[in-house]
């Protein structure tokens, strides 16, 4: 049985490298414009479950983290995509992959990253009239 890693390499030319130890998953760094495309290609390669979608602050900017799962071959892949600190924007995965819906809304809520093409990009955890994005490192309590 060929692994999803091989399929991704052969079919789409996506080169997955192993994560630094102790994590046993695969990873790939992509340009933010290509993140969604890469995820969808990986999905066709067999990473058919979007387990986690989140973001983190990194080097005065943000980094999107997508984690995809292949349950048959027990492979995991992390897709990282860097975003600038000012006006972070990325194409939304939701129209193609429903599991991303609330997860993207949560990231929008917490980090203020705008997902272009999301059908219903509203705050999901914090109240509608909340200002600021709590998980940004420069967030201060607003009371």
């Amino acid at each position: 049985m060929s692994t999803s890693k091989d399929i991704a390499k052969q079919k789409f030319g996506i080169d997955l490298s192993p994560m630094p130890a102790p994590e046993t998953a695969l990873m790939i760094n992509v340009d933010s414009a290509k993140a969604v495309e890469t995820c969808l290609k990986l999905r066709e390669s067999g990473f058919s479950i979007l387990t986690m979608l989140t973001a983190k602050c990194k080097d005065n900017g943000f980094e999107m983290v997508y984690m995809l799962d292949n349950w048959e071959t027990r492979e995991r892949v992390f897709v990282f995509a860097s975003l600038p600190a000012q006006d972070p924007k990325i194409k939304s995965l939701t129209p193609d992959w429903e599991a991303a819906d609330w997860l993207e809304r949560e990231v929008y809520d917490m980090f203020g990253i705008v997902f272009e093409g999301h059908p219903n990009l509203q705050r999901i955890i914090t109240p509608e009239n909340f200002t600021g994005h709590p998980l940004r490192k420069d967030f201060t309590d607003t009371d």
Binding site: T54, M67, I124
Partner: protein, 368 residues
Amino acid sequence: MEEKIRTDLLEVNFGPQHPATHGVFRAVLTLDGEIVVGCKPVLGYLHRGIEKIAERLTYQQFIPYLDRLDYVSGFLNEYPYVRAIEKLMGIEVPIRAQYIRVLMMELNRIAAHLVNVGAQGLDLASMTPMVYCLREREYILELMAEVSGSRMTFNYFRFGGVKFDLPEGYLSKLDRFIHYFKDRLPEYASMLHRNEIFQARTKNIGILKPETALKLSCTGPTLRGCGIARDLRKDEPYEIYPTLDFDVISENTCDSYGRFLVRFKEIEQSVRIIEQTMPNLPEGPVMAKVPKVIKPPAGEIYCRVEAPIGEFGVYVVSDGSPKPYRVKLRSPSFSNLMSFPHIAQNISMPDVVAAFASLAPTMGDSDR
């Protein structure tokens, strides 16, 4: 002359202060008569910013907060975080501690499933099984409190093992409880899923197709109720699970009944696991040698566990300082709840309640 009766759609707030929303979930239901034609979930009423809190505390200080996520399964919430840090730091956990962890996690799974199974009955207005389930859960909570010192918010797992060893005579107490408990299970079955009204209320109600479940990344009993036997304890075994003999339960009815049945039968499997764990419990230390200040090397890791609701994962990013740089909690309730609008489509209002209960979300878990 024919006159048409004009009917209006009715918008009803299901929650957040509704008795059947398992906390403070809210859904705006659009009703046509009693049939739900639209469902818009609203979350966040129990948001406490636990992920942000993590960034301001040291690694050890954050453990108690994890108990407050899915407040009925504290041990299972603590585990993946503790495991993630251990992996980052390369700590080897003593075998006795691993056994105790599995023992506690399975006890906790029974307790959590009892609440969810009972709540399914309660949401169908059958109060008695709920009280019976809570009665048994009370014994379990006391057993867990005897080990950890607390009934629900345990703060028991440590990096490198567990806080205390089992108290003296604990296993015989546990053994007595398991014997007592096994006799009780048929009683619940007769009051719950063997009851004809219960079946009429849950069978073919709240259909979640396997394709939809996969598309939405559902996990746990919600997924196994669609006939997909995915259980992290088997698929990505952690601790001593590879040595244990148990079945992964799945039902291919894809309805509320199937999801309920998975939960109910998993209680029996957890009992089996506990029975296998108890006699084999090895002697030895329960804590590994761990530095006083927990300072994992820079790096990131994702660790997951099969919680009662589904896959609970913790994604930790460390920058080498004594405080975590970022902790993302992948909560099963949050992902499973995404399927609620699909489940609640075109069924009547009372069935929405039953279908919601069959997802068994905990709002503390989904809102974090």
